[in-house]
């Protein structure tokens, strides 16, 4: 049942021209950043060669590129999550799903997974672009994979957050604005905090993605992401269920 919903969401996503436009534009932006970072790396390469234990090309080209992608996703994901439930409610198509023999859990999980799969495609395309460097030099594939994993987890939390906000309203645009505002403030908490031990900072998903960005897999971070995503998914399921009670 979940697979049916994932398929349908995927179809809807790719039937919109805007999706293709966004994918194309993103590829262009990645390529631009990639070349810029590569250029900068080539310029300082000779100096780096004199430093003992200098950062490799993966750390100085790939990691910053993934960092940029994290920022872009923060802005981009709300634009996709906004229509997931709010638009169904506005077009009154939610009744089709609610009257069908599928549970609220399946509806929410289907929508969550479909978007996560879509965002993973974007992340994968970026990873593939970076691994092209492997032809000319030795790449640290471990770092590349942790970075991609970190981005996927970050994307999952932004999707869960956006999905919940989308479940709260009938207006997709309200869902998008509030999701952007919330994830932006979470990010600001991260960049604004003076030291790493700040308690508030632990609330921010981007703070937890940072260790993964430098190739460090900490179980605390993984647990944080799991808790964050589950919390918002449970809240969304509850909200969709409440639709049957209060709407």
């Amino acid at each position: 049942m979940i697979v049916t919903i994932i398929r349908k969401e995927f179809r809807s996503l790719f039937s919109a021209p805007s999706t293709w436009l966004i994918l194309g534009a993103l590829q262009f932006i990645f390529a631009w950043f990639f070349l810029a970072r590569l250029d900068a790396y080539l310029q300082i390469q000779t100096q780096l060669a004199q430093v003992a234990n200098a950062p490799g090309v993966t750390l100085s080209v790939a990691a910053p590129l993934f960092g940029t992608l994290a920022l872009i996703l923060m802005m981009l994901i709300p634009l996709f999550t906004m229509r997931l439930l709010a638009e169904e409610r506005r077009n009154q198509t939610l009744a089709l799903l609610l009257a069908a023999p599928i549970s609220s859990k399946q509806i929410v999980l289907g929508k969550f997974l479909s978007l996560l799969l879509f965002i993973s495609l974007i992340i994968a395309s970026c990873t593939v672009m970076l691994s092209v460097l492997g032809w000319g030099t030795n790449l640290d594939f471990g770092l590349l994979v942790t970075n991609a994993l970190g981005l996927c987890l970050l994307a999952a939390s932004y999707i869960a957050l956006g999905l919940y906000l989308s479940a709260l309203t009938k207006q997709p645009i309200v869902a998008a604005m509030s999701a952007i505002a919330l994830s932006f403030s979470l990010w600001l908490i991260d960049v604004g905090s003076a030291d790493n031990a700040n308690l508030l900072r632990t609330l921010s998903p981007s703070a937890h993605a940072q260790s993964l960005n430098s190739g460090l897999i900490l179980s605390a971070d993984l647990i944080y992401f799991v808790v964050f995503v589950t919390t918002f998914l449970l809240l969304t399921i509850r909200r969709v269920n409440n639709n049957r009670h209060y709407s």
């Binding site: 049916t4 349908k8 919109a16 009744a95 023999p101």
Partner: protein, 329 residues
């Protein structure tokens, strides 16, 4: 059979009564629903047999849509139980919902999808087995007249065709109970006729509940009528009997050489005679009196030159107004 498909012919013949032994497909007991402090639906109980078309009638805001939403599990009732084909909607929602097809007031269509894709999706979420999906799709498109539109995008279809896709979505999984919320709103007369014929056809093998405020719809396609007002069911009977509710029998007769009014009034059973013109008279008589036969016999005997005799049919609008206004709420 043909007469049953064309509803308006049917109402003039014998009413179609589902046999007393037909299984009960839907039963709702004491449904209540509040919005804030306001009671929208109070103590509504309904029962539906297989092969029955039930019309839910009422003014705007009477609680029809809310009731239907509760029956389909879109809305949870504050009190009351619903059983569909023996499954409790609250305890076994998946089994119960698999027996329902629902068309809400606004057809739930994904406008960016193609008709075929959408109907396939509808079939799958309603648990049609994978190997049956293609066959169901062809079947449902044929019965809803959508053969030509399979490849079209739903958003580009006209309102009538969108409504058909909505109905197709509700019946693709062969549900036992079909619930339609105002299925003919906004359609042109031909489309209304087609959709009514379709509903009537569905009513032969499935149970159908439809809400409407078009009284002619009830007259044409429903076996049974429930009238709702301010959240309560205030009247329920077969639609044929409803048309006779509080209705006094009578007829309009044309007599080319009429006698004085007094003579007509003295005919057995006549209660009131009204001259509509020099030659046309409206005659109301008591129930069970064969006044028309007596009058025709007299006309032949006394040379009144009777030309046309039209019985006054029960006007369902009048009946509806009478029921909803009489009922103390």
């Amino acid at each position: 059979m043909q007469g049953r498909i064309l509803g308006y012919i049917r109402t003039n013949s014998q009413p179609f009564n589902p046999s007393m032994t037909a299984p009960i497909t839907l039963s709702a007991r004491n449904l209540c629903r509040r919005y804030g402090q306001r009671d929208i639906v109070q103590n509504v109980s309904l029962e539906l047999k297989q092969g029955e078309v039930l019309g839910l009638l009422g003014h705007n805001g009477a609680g029809k849509s809310t009731t239907l939403q509760m029956l389909t599990g879109v809305l949870a009732p504050h009190a009351g139980e619903i059983d569909i084909c023996g499954f409790n909607l609250r305890l076994q929602p998946d089994q119960a919902k698999a027996c329902i097809g629902y068309l809400p007031e606004t057809p739930p269509l994904y406008r960016e999808m193609r008709v075929d894709d959408f109907l396939t999706f509808a079939a799958k979420i309603h648990r049609v087995p994978q190997d049956r999906v293609a066959a169901s799709l062809i079947e449902v498109k044929e019965s809803c007249g959508l053969q030509e539109c399979g490849n079209k995008i739903i958003g580009t279809l006209s309102k009538g065709f969108q409504q058909r896709v909505g109905i197709a979505q509700a019946i693709i999984h062969h549900p036992q109970v079909i619930i339609l919320d105002e299925p003919t709103v906004g359609l042109d007369p031909t489309q209304i006729r087609d959709i009514r014929a379709l509903i009537r056809k569905l009513g032969d093998s499935h149970s159908v509940i439809l809400s409407t405020h078009l009284l002619s719809e009830v007259e044409n396609i429903c076996d049974r009528v429930e009238i709702m007002q301010k959240g309560r069911l205030i009247y329920g009977d077969s639609s044929v009997r409803m048309q006779q509710y509080g209705h006094q029998p009578g007829f309009v007769v044309t007599l080319l050489a009429p006698p004085p009014l007094g003579e007509l009034e003295s005919i057995v059973g006549v209660e009131r005679v009204e001259a509509l013109s020099d030659t046309r008279f409206r005659i109301m008589h008591t129930l069970n009196a064969s006044t028309s036969a007596v009058l025709l016999a007299l006309a032949a005997e006394r040379g009144w030159q009777a030309q046309q005799l039209t019985p006054i049919a029960g006007n369902i609008e009048d009946v509806f107004t009478r029921i909803t206004e009489n009922e103390p709420v």
